[in-house]
Symmetry: D2
Subunit: 355 residues, 4 copies
């Protein structure tokens, strides 16, 4: 892990996102995990140590607790930062704000996650939309899972000159599987009390030109989010034209309901069958056979894996801040290859063309 030719990446917070980011980094050719820091001391951290990650306590107390639990530590977060080129903050929502001064004092480039405010870094990141402005910077914020999917899809339409106004309804998973024994909702639906919901404005933190409004509802399942969109195009268009735009995007997978993928659980089973770690879906999985155009109105739906979609974005953000690649496309290609992104084919083309 001390290959001098690789960027040394610290992971602060080894939870749902942190553990995925760590494993994804280890698959990349130009970066390596310098260590992970956390505050818990159970099997999750033990497993990190068994995988070969150096473990640090996020606090002095955490170091003691880990040692007491028989987990060998390499010091505190400060020690980890001193031995790293950049830190990825994967702590729970709103915790990162308190960590930023620490990162700054240590002179550490840092990446925050989407639960944090844009103002903390002044830059919000989605590879397809804002890579260039992150190159060489000191910090950025990888936007939330929902916002990432919105920016990916709308950017694809924008690049084709078709994007007018976008109105989306977001069905949000109620909690993540790993904490579903102590949180969640049951046999109900909970609409967000405010319309528009925050995801629309959040997308504008990446691209201020977007005309996007969202409504959101919490639904009783844990697999991921489902978005349904109504987009006014700049002109009438053909379905094939729109599909080509989405197909040209780097992290949108076109899937088919009529090819055995009619629901979130089907897609998850597919990812598990593919052997992806945790059955992760890094792509926006968009149903091509549901997509409809009526005049200048476009309708479509897709699944977002809230645990996985930001992982490749975070890898790209590391590469941008550290100046490893100047071009978004170059970084994306490097990131995608070992994660298997870009290889999903639900059905051969000649099938897709059939009635």
């Amino acid at each position: 892990m001390t290959d001098p030719r690789k960027v040394r990446v610290a992971i602060n917070g080894y939870g749902v996102i942190g553990k995925r980011v760590a494993d994804a980094i280890m698959l990349q050719p130009d970066m390596s995990v310098s260590g992970i820091a956390d505050v818990v001391d159970d099997w999750r951290i033990r497993l990190a140590a068994e995988k070969g990650y150096r473990v640090f306590g996020a606090t002095v107390e955490a170091v003691a607790a880990m040692s007491n639990a028989g987990i060998a530590t390499s010091g505190t977060l400060a020690d980890l930062l001193a031995d790293s080129d950049i830190v990825i903050d994967c702590t729970p929502k709103n915790i990162a704000a308190a960590n930023v001064p620490t990162y700054r004092a240590a002179g550490a480039k840092h990446i925050l996650q989407g639960g944090e405010k844009h103002a903390l870094t002044g830059h919000s990141f989605v590879a397809e939309a804002s890579y260039a402005s992150a190159v060489g910077g000191s910090s950025t914020r990888v936007v939330s899972c929902n916002t990432t999917s919105i920016v990916r899809t709308l950017t694809a339409l924008k690049k084709g000159g078709l994007l007018g106004s976008a109105r989306g309804t977001l069905l949000r998973r109620a909690t993540d599987p790993w904490e579903s024994h102590q949180s969640g909702i049951m046999n109900t639906l909970v609409p967000e009390s405010r319309i528009p919901s925050h995801q629309g404005p959040d997308a504008k933190s990446v691209d201020p030109d977007l005309d996007v409004v969202t409504m959101a509802v919490k639904v009783p399942q844990t697999l991921g989010h489902l978005h349904l969109w109504n987009v006014r195009l700049t002109r009438p268009a053909e379905v094939a034209e729109v599909l080509d735009l989405f197909r040209a995007s780097s992290r949108i997978a076109l899937i088919r309901s009529d090819a055995g993928l009619p629901a979130l659980n089907s897609i998850k089973e597919w990812m598990l069958d593919l052997g992806r770690p945790h059955g992760d879906l890094y792509e926006v999985a968009l149903w091509e056979d549901m997509l409809t155009v009526e005049g200048d109105e476009l309708f479509y739906a897709y699944m977002v894996d809230n645990q996985a979609i930001v992982i490749p974005e975070t890898i790209d953000a590391i590469r941008a801040l550290c100046g490893l690649e100047r071009e978004a496309a170059s970084s994306i290609a490097i990131t995608n290859a070992p994660l298997g992104i870009g290889k999903l084919v639900a059905r051969p083309d000649r099938q897709a063309d059939a009635p």
Copy 2:
């Protein structure tokens, strides 16, 4: 039950809808249940008998099975029709089509439910929109729960001259509580494989002028549906103006998320606390504090109780076909009173006016 001044109504199918229609009829001043017909012979039919309804077998076999189960019957469906002025078909989806010839042969006015095709009767019913054209007719179709809510709300906007194009996303409950031990979906979301979903066109069977497109998703809960709408208005408007239109409608209840009603289960608890039978919500329960207008765009969300919303519509349809009232408003007022519709106040006015 043989009051000569009351219209005699037969109920064919004593299930989720049939049992509610029967009980609601008995609360009305100008109609009475002449009997219920069904094919099952368990506690559900026994309970109908204990309530005092005359029980008929929908078939000769059903009569035998009921008798064998100790349930006294008054004959077959044919006997029931002979003793009724009108029949409400509440059989499961797609069964009614086969019953229509029977009703016609018996010369019986008949009302079908929304699972059936418009063409079977040539008339689709929502009291606020199509009462007049049903008056004195021989048959009509009370449209589905989803469609009823769409027509109610959009008609309110149309009456105010504000309705442009309406785009809705419908979250549909996966199954009804009473059959949730043998059907349903689990920890997933299932989008309808076609966009637009059928509810938009179905709304046009009631009012062909509506410009409405819907997308639908099946969600893992049993309480009811949740709709989220984006409506382009004919002009910019104020929130208060829109709320007044909804308030003026006869079966839309304005509720508040910030007044203890943030989710479907809260609304259901409220209905149960009110002592409504089965906790039924006959109204469209629309969140006034979520409703937003941005320029000429209107956004709102509401709950639809799929087991209950069509009950008052069915009562009105009886009154229309039988010519008991010429005016929709008159019938609606009579129907609403004993059901408690129009009395829901989530919060006093001075509170609603507060910021």
Copy 3:
């Protein structure tokens, strides 16, 4: 509500239990609700006022908040206690402990719920088992829903001289419907981390002679609990003999899976169809066609409605403490009548006897 011939009962806490107790009291001939006290000020309390209950703030702050919300109050809890003969504490778990000194200082007889410790009152109540020792007392604790069902069923076996050792597995609903938008578990099972679970010892607080051990699991549904039991009898017995013992108990309803009641949701639908408030099941609903005896071992399963089962017990506890009836059987009969307990027949006897 000031009938001098009726015991005046204060309800402190108008939640899931409190509102049910209040409504049940109003159906009884010898007691009346003197008022309800609470701390919230939304539709739930407004509804209490609309029903005619006098509303008191549990605290001075609550009085102010209620007034601010337009709800007329009659004073504080102290005022309510001064005007009552007994108070039923229906506050959330562990709150009652702090209220007991207040009740004692006011000289108020008081009844606590099963979330509290036995030691707080020194007496634990289930009508069939411990009515006599509560007569004329100053306080008691109506045990929890689970414990109530255990004591009811085991007492029936004990009265027949058949009870040896009882080993039960309890499947507990994860949260109540009214708060299922903010708590719960999703797509998982959570066993209680300790065996035996607390319900077994708790049953012994009512009857120290019981030989009972329980294990418990939290399951992802909101309708109620399901218990499965393996009881070693004092001797081999016939199924009919055991069923007769259960049938002789005052609040056990024998139901049949093969008569349309195969699951919790079916039973709930039945209660709603019966017109019971909230669809409440006051009885232990025990499947007679599942009950099996093998040698001296008895196996059976039943549903417990955790929101309803303690309501009739609480009514009896009022009657015991206030000395209205000396005999359990007399009180139970009076309580049961207006609640409809004892009238449930899933299937006529001759059917039950059929193969």
Copy 4:
């Protein structure tokens, strides 16, 4: 895949079990998949082909459909059997009965799954209990997930001379994730209508000496089963003694609720974090900190992954029928190694010993 030194295994039915068996076989040193046969033609079979498995149509029609879908096939099931030493039937429940004559006519050794009847093969298999009697045989039935777990655990107690009578309550997942968009139960519990449930007698098909009775309930989740047991021991015993017996068994993993594994979802997350395919749990995961002994009564609970637990058993059954190993222990060791079974440590020993 044509290594002459390896046993050639055909997989008939590439579903939940079939795909797992295939992948597990490919990890073994002494066997190889000769091909998979199925009737569907979507992404699932395409993926099998992409993994390198030879694909066969289970019927002539299936061959045509697969070809039409662009999936290259190598013939029909008959062709596959002709090129195999043994076939594993992984078709849905009750289908295998019709396949057995085909297997016999082809002279193919065959293994059925637990949904089938014992009489079809006359031998029921769990490696720890009945390996010896399967050696060199022509067919066997790997018992169901539930029964496998029961035999594994009770056999461990039996080997220690502690097993008296065992009484278990089984909480069964309602459906598998991959079909949860079209089947399942919602917000209810469904007890099996008969006590005892079939799993107890089924365990006796493996070991007739077992004194075991089970009750079962279907619960609304998809992750797996949870069993709770009350076992009468042949004598009073210490907890440590019982744990040692379970620890000595080859496929029981002792886990701890207090070490971050309190529920089914936690265990599933752990398996996914370990990188196991599909997050599969091959072991019985038994909570050591919940296990209790009171006198001569033992209480414990464990999770069963219904999709995974029979996979290693099936591998052993292949080895037994084909005579690759004479001893159960030898086969189990070979099977376990590449699957990672036996390496699960939820917590270091010194922690487990701590209070």
